[in-house]
Symmetry: C2
Subunit: 492 residues, 2 copies
């Protein structure tokens, strides 16, 4: 396969699709809408998962595992939630195959093995989990429950794209139970903060924290908080959500507890999740026409070392120097790879690691070594410099931190340049069509206007920012009074 990518300016969507496959992050599979996450992509996901898991545990959460299947009668118990997901459900109806009597060596679904009650493959686990919590919660002493689950979920999608929208995806879903509304709201916001910290600090992607409008809320939630990120093509991407579920699930599954005064009350709930979709956000926030750009903190390979030599004589000299450097880097906790494979020339390797977005490349040639230097190339700025071998490991370790910060700064500058306040419908459409990004506009607060704007502009309200300032104005579409600007954008 050629490494040449379609240019972003020519076809951003095509560029993305090619990049995911050519950089070996993921591939299409034989199953409609399902992806194969390849080792390089999975190593990235592991780094993200490990850090998130650590942050969840530091905030008092524990992991558990609940069934993949949800019996239909449980699935439909919380009606809003069920209606929201009904159209996307993969359904297991049979539990056995048998030999096809008309086609030797082939199998058919055994009609005698039909399930009495169909099983929904979880699109999200509130139903099965709240049905379980019912058995775990009697008294206030059983609260809070602070559980997270790492799992696969399935949402049948007609139009799929690797990482961004796949029928099966990997995610984590937190499901917590609380004695009071205040505590549940606090948890919802706390986890939104954890997500924001993770995405900004580790993925180097700035986000806006906000709350969704009723139209955009999670099915079954009282409030959906979200973090919104901006992609290079000016479209927004919802990077994580944290839901305050009120007592909806507790009521649907009859989960009550007796408080300190022995009074019965329904339990308060939250749920929150991020998924492999974050990888899509990472790609579209940082990469360029040459390939991926991995933020050092979660890059599967942080530093790659490529030897440059002619003839086999010089190889052992380089190997020796590399061994020392690798040991020093590993001691500093740096994920380093020495690529001395002999099936590709250095130039091919340079392009390969550029495509894969390895933050730092070290080229070690024999002549350089004689001068006690190496060539260090940064993936983010493409800058190359000659660096002394003395203290090189420390230098590279520091450089990784610099790159992480620089990537964040660039993404932040781009994002900030693309929050445009507008006060007229013409300006609204003009920004969407010609500049992209978030449009900060007044809206009259009605679902009808929101819907109408979406029809006219394909833009949705991404969120009402948490740090919003009150400001009197008039709705950009209807001219009706408004008390604050909200953020619109076209979105993934």
């Amino acid at each position: 396969m050629s490494k040449e990518l379609t240019k972003r300016a020519d076809d951003y969507s095509q560029w993305y699709n090619e990049l995911v496959v050519k950089s070996q992050l993921a591939d299409h599979s034989a199953v409609r809408g399902c992806m194969v996450i390849k080792p390089y992509g999975y190593a990235l996901w592991e780094n993200m998962k490990d850090q998130l898991d650590k942050m969840f545990k530091e905030t008092g959460h524990v992991n558990a595992y609940f069934p993949l299947f949800v019996p239909k009668s449980l699935f439909e118990a919380e009606e809003t939630n069920a209606e929201g997901f009904a159209k996307e459900c993969a359904v297991v109806t049979h539990y056995r195959l048998k030999s096809d009597p008309n086609n030797k060596g082939k199998l058919i679904v055994d009609p005698e093995a039909k399930l009495e009650e169909e099983l929904v493959v979880r699109p999200t686990s509130e139903a099965i989990i709240w049905n379980t919590y019912k058995g775990w919660i009697q008294s206030y002493r059983d609260l809070p429950i602070l559980i997270n689950q790492w799992a696969n979920v399935v949402r049948w999608e007609m139009r799929t794209r690797l990482f961004l929208r796949t029928a099966e995806f990997l995610w984590q879903e937190g499901h917590t139970a609380h004695a009071t509304k205040e505590e549940a709201v606090e948890e919802t916001v706390k986890m939104l903060d954890v997500y924001a910290d993770f995405v900004e600090e580790y993925m180097a992607v700035p986000v806006i924290k906000g709350v969704k409008t009723a139209n955009e809320r999670f099915a079954g939630a009282e409030d959906t908080y979200c973090i919104e990120a901006l992609m290079q093509d000016g479209k927004a991407l919802q990077a994580g959500t944290s839901h305050f579920l009120g007592q909806n699930f507790a009521k649907a599954f009859d989960v009550k507890f007796s408080d300190k005064n022995n009074k019965q009350a329904y339990v308060w709930a939250t749920s929150w999740g991020v998924s492999t979709r974050l990888i899509g956000a990472l790609i579209m926030a940082h990469s360029d026409d040459q390939g991926l750009m991995m933020p050092p903190k979660i890059a599967p390979i942080q530093v790659v070392i490529v030897p440059i030599y002619k003839g086999d004589d010089s190889k052992p000299v380089i190997d020796g120097k590399v061994a020392t450097l690798v040991a020093e880097l590993k001691a500093l906790g740096v994920r380093v790879k020495y690529d001395d494979s002999d099936n590709a020339r250095p130039g091919w390797k340079f392009a390969e690691y550029e495509l894969k977005g390895v933050p730092v490349r070290v080229a070690m040639g024999l002549r350089d070594l004689e001068n006690n230097v190496v060539e260090v190339a940064r993936r983010d700025t493409k800058a190359k410099e000659t660096v002394s071998m003395d203290g090189l490991a420390t230098y590279l370790h520091q450089l990784l931190a610099t790159i992480q910060q620089n990537m964040y700064n660039n993404a932040l500058a781009f994002r900030n340049e693309h929050i445009t306040p507008v006060d007229s419908w013409d300006a609204f459409m003009d920004v969407l069509e010609n500049k992209g990004g978030f449009v900060a506009a007044h809206w009259d607060g009605t679902p009808e206007t929101e819907e109408k704007i979406k029809e006219l502009s394909k833009a949705t309200i991404r969120c009402i920012p948490l740090n919003n300032v009150a400001e009197a104005g008039v709705c950009v579409l209807t001219g009706n009074p408004s008390t604050q600007r909200v953020l619109f954008a076209r979105a993934y």
Copy 2:
């Protein structure tokens, strides 16, 4: 719920079922045959998973993720494998629910959303993976592929037991591709060794490495290697398997590569897996009538500290001492919990942590502290001793290693006492009925005799041990000549 367990001697099976639930490892769910792995059980699984993952990576493997669903046409491609699993397959036939027109608020499967091709929920992933490998392998340079996947799988079971046999379970499955038969066989044995090392060193359960007879082989394998463990009730449990798959899947999915001489050849395959079933093995190899016994190396909590005090005045004094001890233990990498909750008395807590199998309990009372000592109780021997506070952390850290070794020694002694060579059918049956464990007996090597023995005794050939010595003899059932003893047992 009462903590009182059925005694093992009274009803081993009932004891097991109660223990799993009462110790909070897992629970039954609303989904037939599927379990909920509770936080304590999941923390155990995480410790096991982390160590296995480390060992897989140290042996050159990388993780990836393949789809949950297998289209029926792919599933049936390798016929032996397909036939072996056909009877246990959950099948997705529809991709949408809709409102029930006759029952407001309820959902039905939308008959118009029937899949053209049914999707099997993976019972194992050889089919989907080898169909994928076809696209990844062209030349010898693409080999070997050394991939592991952590995933959930579904095998429909009529009679289920928590951890031991559930419709859905968690596991890892390694799937490797090689240029030569020798290399594939070497990989198969290498991973068996990894499993054996893990189970013996971390779970403190001794295993016998062996190879399965044709009757007991994985469907689609040329050879199935296994590790067999012995439970306290004298039944064997297959703790892990590693399969040499020959070229069966390469042929079924047409996966060829061109070798160094540009000749086309089919690729050689292995697969290997362990699952949450290991937790069942752990429980049944070590626990007693008071509860679980966690091997320190994978115990979610290694040391629990329980304060003993009257009135609130003395509590801060104890807290202070505990804080220091906890910090010291954590610095040594010990997983320690200070249970100063005020909703249970010390005696209740003692029983609770005994039930949960925490290896070491430290009781800290005010009078003890005045004498600069604490009470240390071992879960394995139930021994209690008074230990000086000076150097306590180091003492406890060392004690954990001692307990780990002692648990292994005990299990090994029990296992070794329960490998009984027999030379007659009467003795064979007598050992199975009255002593239990492995019976080392001559067998004439035919599947028919093996089947007959199973019918008569409910014992199967667990394995032909890898370290077997050749020994001429006659089959314990037929009297036909035999060249070696094999290990029979009744098994989980």
